[in-house]
């Protein structure tokens, strides 16, 4: 079966900067995929290639088997972009009505507005909305055509708790209804809550493509911190499964998936460990250890 969206050895260069360095990715019907990575990793560039907003400098992008700029592909997609705007003088309802007309079999206007949790603001002009409400308006514009596939670039950015809950709930419901959904985020927690597949992208390269469970098993889960009797150096930790090692004089902080093994080795190496603390690692901080490799 033709994948909904496909990148084949896709490269993208902006002047001197190579934003994507050969990405291979195929997303099938009904998948709910998170593109995860720090800012500037290449998430938005990937989405732009998938949607034909940018042309790859090398490789290929296909959308429903077509060139992504093809109207036949576009009319099956709803999109929410980070860097985009809309006129401020039309109301939420007017804008949703307008975007509905672009699709062959759209949702009722009220349903689309409700999916974004914007019922109370349906009569408000877009220019009067707060940042989070505006973001929800873009979500309503993305879903109003009842498209088969949704591309959401940082959908929850700038939203308050309530807005986030409304939008994440709608994404789940849409996925359960069989829609193919690709979204970007730089929060592992959000990807983990929502997606069944996480594509981790860093510096223009896919560094992991797996289930949330597998991704989490790869990142260090525990934080170890302690003081030492005598100053130690990085060399003390050679060969041990540690990450994000910080050694400052007597103070040591590190992340690890195997704290018992690390501590046993340190005792054997004669390090005097004092004030030992082993805690669960902060998920986001630990995730960064995966992406910011030397």
């Amino acid at each position: 079966m033709t994948p909904v969206v496909e990148l084949r050895a896709a490269r993208k260069r902006f002047g001197q900067v190579e934003a994507l360095k050969g990405v291979d990715l195929a997303i099938g019907t009904g998948e709910l995929v998170a593109m995860l990575g720090p800012n500037g990793a290449g998430k938005t560039t990937s989405i732009s290639l998938m949607l034909g907003l940018r042309r790859p400098t090398g490789g290929e992008a296909r959308l429903f088997g077509f060139d992504p700029a093809d109207q036949r592909a576009r009319s099956r997609c709803g999109v929410m972009l980070q860097e985009s705007g809309t006129t401020g003088v039309l109301t939420v309802r007017e804008l949703v009505d307008l975007f509905r007309s672009y699709y062959p079999s759209p949702l009722p206007t009220a349903t689309a507005i409700a999916r974004a949790g914007l019922d109370a603001k349906a009569g408000a002009r877009a220019g009067t909305l707060s940042g989070g409400e505006r973001q929800r308006l873009y979500f309503a514009l993305a879903v109003c055509g009842d498209p088969e596939a949704l591309f959401l670039d940082e959908p929850t950015v700038g939203m308050d708790v309530e807005g986030r809950r409304a939008v994440l709930g709608s994404i789940r419901a849409l996925s359960a209804a069989g829609k193919t959904i690709v979204f970007t985020t730089h929060y592992l927690e959000e990807a983990d809550q929502l997606a069944r597949r996480i594509v981790v992208i860093d510096r223009g390269v896919v560094i992991a493509d797996a289930t949330p469970r597998e991704i989490k098993s790869r990142i260090p889960s525990k934080r170890i911190s302690f003081n030492t009797g005598a100053p130690v150096s990085d060399a003390t930790f050679r060969g041990l499964p540690v990450q994000n090692l910080e050694v400052a004089d007597h103070r040591v902080r590190l992340l690890s998936n195997e704290p018992e093994l690390v501590l046993k080795a340190l005792f054997e190496r004669g390090v005097a460990v004092r004030d030992l603390e082993v805690t669960g690692a902060d998920l986001e901080e630990a995730f960064l250890s995966l992406t910011t490799r030397p």
Binding site: R55, R74, L81, S84, G85, T86, V89, F99, Y102
Partner: protein
Amino acid sequence: MRYPAAALMLRMLLMQTRSELLMRWRVPAFSVTNLALPIVFFTFFGLPVAHVRRGDGVSIGAYLLASFGAYAVGNVMIYGFGIGVANERAMKIDRLMRASPLPPLVFMLAKVVTALVFALLALLLLVGYGAVVGGIYQPPAIWAMVIARLLAGSLPFIALGFAIGYLSGPHAAPAVANLIYLPLAFASGFFVPVGQLPGFVQAIAPFLPTYHYAQLAWSALGAGSETLGTSLLWLAGYTALFLTLAVRAYRREERAKFA
């Protein structure tokens, strides 16, 4: 099939045009400038001399209504497209539109239809104002011809508006539009008849697009100074020039933003 079904396209065009009309109406910078400004100018320049007859027997009132009609339509096209497109680029509306299933051609067509509706409205207001306040009358068939010619002949200014919109930023666009359009309008005798302008301006007037555009309206009243064919030839030439400019500016933007 390259595009969605014809019915869907028509629906898109209707909805897009409706939205464009609402937007233009709700932004005073457009609606007031488009509809009220020509009437205000006509009040100062046209009303005091409305009932003086020209050598050819046409009342100066009717002659200046036609001139201000030309000014009004040029206004709608050059400011509407120039400033409108520059603003939309700055607000990144083009990016969301680009990713939507709306074909770019429908997007542009809706803008053109909207501009024509506003131009028609501006012309009807002017003619009505001239009749009610100035007592300036012409047979309806004559006004109908003036209006039809001004709308049909506005193509070069639509192209010029698009070119300005793609070449200038949102802050520069109003200044650029003014700097281009106001001198053109003055030098072509829109406000003061060409015969009363400084000598060097009289000398360049016959080379300006706005001059030949106004001739379309003047000659409908029997007050033109060149044949319809001459006017159309000049306007066709300027359309080709401005369209080339607009397409180049559009392509440059495409390469920068969507390549």
